[in-house]
Amino acid sequence: MAIKDLTRDLTKRIASSHIKWSLIIFFVILLFNFIFTPNFFHIEIKNGRFYGSIIDVFNRAAPVMLAAIGMTLVIATGGIDISVGSVMAISGSIAAVLIAKMDVPFWMVLCLPLVFSALLGAWNGLLVSYIGIQPIIATLILLVAGRGIAQLVTDGQIIVFEHPPFEFIAGGSLFGLHFPIIISFGVFLIILFLFKFTALGLFVESVGGNSEASKYCGINAGRIKLVVYIVSALCAGIAGLIAASNIKAADPNTSGDGLELNAILAVVIGGTSLNGGKYFLVGSVIGALIMQSLTTTILTMGVPVQVTLVVNAIVVLVVCLIQSKNFRDILAGIFKLDFRGLLRRMPLKGGNK
């Protein structure tokens, strides 16, 4: 009974138009690759782990995916967090300094950066919820100052280190999968559980829908906002550890550069509206995968990498247009189609009423 409910819930969720669009885009990209790049789906096992373009997409998408998961929650409360790139740089820098300059146990190398990230997230959350600063400005402060802090931590240098246990984070593997994939999906499942299967998710949606009304309903809107900013910063902090481990160095200047924009883009592609309210964690993950698979496709096709940005721009445009009601109305007018009716009749919606 419960499983039946769950599957019905799942099909309903897939059928909700926004996720459907991102799934369709993702499958179109995969189909394109299936036809035009022969080795895209080729997976081989080397040294007990899987290799291949498709695995690479998942591996490289990990930082953006993590940031996008946190960002989804923030955007769901009607906010935005543009400081994630700086938090990522700070977290990586702290880890590198701890390894290279100080003799501390390994668990502290993992914990301290994350604790500091959480503190930065709490700072953002306090500014937004208790002082009432606009989210974009509140996090702008940390975005501007944060990179300075990261440079301060490493004294403006790129700190290189050798530390096998820490290098495992990006270089290791578990169950034949690259460890970043495990981390990002682990975080995804935890967040999905916390925010979709407990009341927390409902509170987030409610605060995003109408912060004032939620307050009158007895929801502590301020605390909910605080929590989502902390989660977002934690996700960025984890991404920072992966990035630092990946290049065996901390680069305070370029680490996480533009991460905030990519994460926001992934969230928007995933169907979550910037106005807050309803949110789609699965959509954001697919959004991150779409962007990475586009980049990988362009690279494997042998197209110069700088074209990626133009393609990104086109994707943004398409997403904007698809989500615009005006555009859908115009489209429906042109084809003289009952657009909504068509969607309703699509076989994706499995639920029987």
Binding site: L152, G156, Q306
Partner: protein, 342 residues
């Protein structure tokens, strides 16, 4: 009584900005010998002319309640277009400069149209513009392109002389002229009033008959033009162009506008405030250069802290209940007058 109080309120934010500038300047002059000279003062403008030009356009966008993330990329794009056309196609700068300005304006127009006609969020649309402009710049050239043409040297080397030794270079003159025009447009024309109106409350503006579409598209086109001009000035300033330059620049611009006292929610702010916002970030940079011990990353931290302080100040002023009501009243009467003088 209420009216006079509201006017005080209105100017408090900009007074705070100007005070910070004056205090910073006096402190710097006391701490460092040689800080108090025309050269140093003019240097604020030379080093920040491109930031200022871009901030002028951004002020209009933010006043209208929008945001534009594409400015840094547009600067890179127009720089690369200018450098390529001048140095590789050997076109005359008098042809190239208008082409570059048009390309920036056209991108702005495009973004404005998408924002207005498809009711898409400015944040995402201009994020698209950010990728597009950066991408076009990189597709044209990945190299750092030097410019040797005397036309571009002229604007930085030559200028209006003051006294015997000091000159105001023409890039500063461009910035100051644009600033004067911007003040006029923002505060003394119908377009400027419309920008304030739709930033204050788009619904009431619509009911009052303000042309929403024309104004919004106009604002983004204007900002595209300003970014393109900033790109050309940046090319003159650095004698070169690079498709990766101007990364994160949009945030410097937004910070300058916010420090200048313009509210990001739109409808509140002054063009003059932006000028002081730009000068404050100039003074911090110069301070750190003079000090010599502090590393450059302190610039970012100090700017971050300053933004924080200004936001707190604005938050404090805007939370006073009387002011918002009173400004609304004065605004309505202003609107009435405007209608009468039509």
């Amino acid at each position: 009584m209420k009216l006079s109080f509201s006017i005080n309120q209105k100017y408090l934010s900009i007074i705070a900005t100007i005070s910070v500038f004056v205090i910073l300047y006096i402190v710097s002059c006391i701490v460092f010998e040689g800080f108090f000279s025309e050269m140093v003062f003019i240097n604020f403008f030379i080093d920040n002319a491109f930031l200022g030009i871009s901030a002028i356009g951004m002020t209009f966008v933010i006043l209208s309640g929008g945001i534009d993330l594409s400015v840094g990329s547009v600067i890179a794009m127009t720089g690369v277009i200018t450098a390529t056309l001048v140095e590789q196609a050997h076109l005359d700068p008098l042809i190239v400069v208008p082409i570059a300005l048009l390309s920036g304006s056209f991108l702005g127009l495009l973004m404005g149209c998408i924002i207005h006609f498809f009711d898409a969020p400015p944040f995402i649309v201009t994020l698209g513009g950010y990728f597009l402009a950066r991408g076009i710049g990189q597709v044209i050239s990945l190299e750092s392109l030097p410019i040797y043409h005397p036309f571009f040297q002229f604007f930085i080397m030559e200028g209006i002389p003051i006294g015997d030794t000091v000159i105001i270079p023409y890039i500063v003159v461009i910035f100051l002229v644009l600033f004067v025009i911007a003040v006029y447009v923002a505060h003394y024309t119908r377009f400027g009033r419309n920008v304030y109106a739709i930033g204050g409350n788009i619904q009431s503006a619509r009911l009052l008959g303000v042309p929403i579409g024309k104004t919004r598209v106009g604002v983004y086109t204007l900002n595209g033009f300003c970014s393109a001009l900033a790109g050309i000035v940046y090319t003159m300033y650095t004698s070169g162009a690079w498709s990766l330059s101007g990364k994160g620049f949009e945030l410097d611009v937004i910070s300058a506008v916010v420090i200048g006292g313009t509210l990001l929610s739109g409808g509140v702010g002054f063009m003059a405030g932006t000028m002081f916002g730009v000068l404050i970030s100039g003074i911090i940079q110069t301070f750190i250069t003079f000090q010599g011990q502090l590393s450059s990353h302190w610039t970012r931290i100090v700017i971050g802290v300053l933004v924080f302080i200004f936001i707190l100040l604005q938050r404090f002023f805007s939370s006073l209940p009387v002011s918002s009501k009173a400004t609304r009243v004065t605004y309505a009467s202003m609107r009435e007058q405007a209608e009468l003088t039509k």
